[in-house]
Amino acid sequence: MHMLTIPAAGGETDGGFWATAAPIIPHPIEFFFSLAVFAILFWVVAKKVVPRLEQVYAERSAAIEGGMARAEEAQAEAKAALESYNAQLQDARGEGNKIREDARAQGAQIVAEMRAQAQAEAARIVDTAQKQIEAERQSAVVSLRTEVGRLSTDLASRIVGESLQDEVRQKGIVERFLAELEAGDIRPERVGGDL
């Protein structure tokens, strides 16, 4: 145990003052070395150790935060994709509706057009038919007039026994007769006595 030997040895041989000095008095060399050693260690720590440790800290928090950021990013991306799908779906739905509306409108328009066309066609057909009927009636009247004229003259000539073959006279008579008939001057008279 040198601790026990020191007081005796140090006290006698080695400059008595520092061995027995009050422990509150700083030893100059110790004071100086404390400053110097602290300064050197401080320099090492400040220049090398702390920057390295801070770098590790920064990298680690970056790694953690980066992971979180990536996860957030992925989530945001998924959300954006969902939103865009929803928007597209909405668009498609809207477009479908629009197409359906258009189709309905177009259909209605087509039906209306067709109806108008059909009515026009029907009107045209009716018109044509009427015209045809009129024309046929006209021709029937003409041919009837000729036929009736001929028949009645034949009949009349037979009855009268007189030949009324002369064209002009015959025509004049028939015409006159028909005119009277149309004017309503001639009444059908009972020919036979039994009716």
């Binding site: 008095i25 700083p26 030893h27 060399i29 404390s34 260690l41 720590v45 440790l53 770098q55």
Partner: protein, 263 residues
């Protein structure tokens, strides 16, 4: 001193209780210019700390190994629990190297008090803690004056919102605290704890040794004394850590006070 009295009763050449002179261990030279054993211990401790820090931060793994983990946990303690919490997240970073160096240097030198073959707490020599306390004192004055300006710094010592008649008295009190109490208590606290702890352990161990060699039933007391010395050693370990922590914590507090926006 009862143990010394017992020792005398036990016979032999008498027990001399260890006193302050056990701390005087010159290695090279003598007197005021001697390179003493604590100086060498300080240099060894600084070399150890520097080597350990550089070696464990060399690879800078994101998933740290054992050494890096140790360095990081101590660094985290000083950086986050001391510097950041006390100085505030705005400008704590520029004081982290200072506080980290302070903590490690004091801690390792304190632990030297119970670690063989050093068995000497460097900080039990007043020259060392006084130099460190002075460093802190100078630094917190410089940063305070940089922040508030020379006049502004002295003005910032007095808390705002005091009634006018009280200002001079408070200023004098704060001035004494700032210039004298803080550095002296900072240095003396560390010195006193290490000095007392070491001398107490020296007393227990040397006393026990003396009694073990003595006759009669004294060796039994010697065994008990050594058992106590072991308990004291564990206690000393706690004190050594605490003193390093307290020194760093108070340094951070003084710096925080100096750079704070207002008292």
């Amino acid at each position: 001193m009862s143990i010394a009295a017992l020792g005398m009763e036990g016979g032999g050449d008498g027990f001399v209780a260890p006193d302050a002179s056990i701390f005087w261990e010159p290695v090279i030279g003598s007197g005021a210019t001697a390179i003493t054993r604590p100086v060498i211990l300080l240099v060894i401790s600084a070399a150890l700390v520097a080597w350990f820090l550089l070696a464990t931060t060399k690879r800078r793994a994101l998933v740290p190994g054992k050494g890096q983990m140790m360095t990081e946990s101590v660094y985290g303690l000083v950086r986050n629990s001391i510097a950041k919490d006390i100085i505030g997240s705005h400008d704590f970073m520029r004081f982290v190297p200072l506080l980290f160096t302070m903590f490690l240097l004091i801690l390792v030198n304190n632990l030297f008090g119970v670690i063989p073959p050093f068995n000497y707490p460097t900080m039990s020599r007043i020259g060392f803690p006084v130099a460190l306390a002075l460093t802190v004192w100078v630094i917190f004055h410089i940063v305070g004056m940089k922040k508030h300006g020379f006049i502004g710094y002295w003005k910032s010592l007095v808390p705002s919102g005091l009634p006018k008649p009280m200002i001079p008295a408070i200023f004098v009190l704060e001035l004494i605290t700032d210039l004298f109490t803080r550095p002296v208590t900072l240095g003396l606290r560390l010195f006193g704890n290490m000095f007392a702890g070491h001398i107490l352990m020296a007393l227990f161990i040397s006393g026990g040794w003396y009694m073990l060699q003595a006759g009669g039933i004294l060796p039994v007391a010697g065994v008990v004394t050594w058992a106590f010395a072991i308990i004291m050693t564990l206690f000393e370990l706690l004190v050594e850590f605490l003193q390093a922590y307290v020194f760093t914590l108070l340094s951070a507090l003084y710096i925080a006070g100096a750079v704070a926006d207002s008292h």
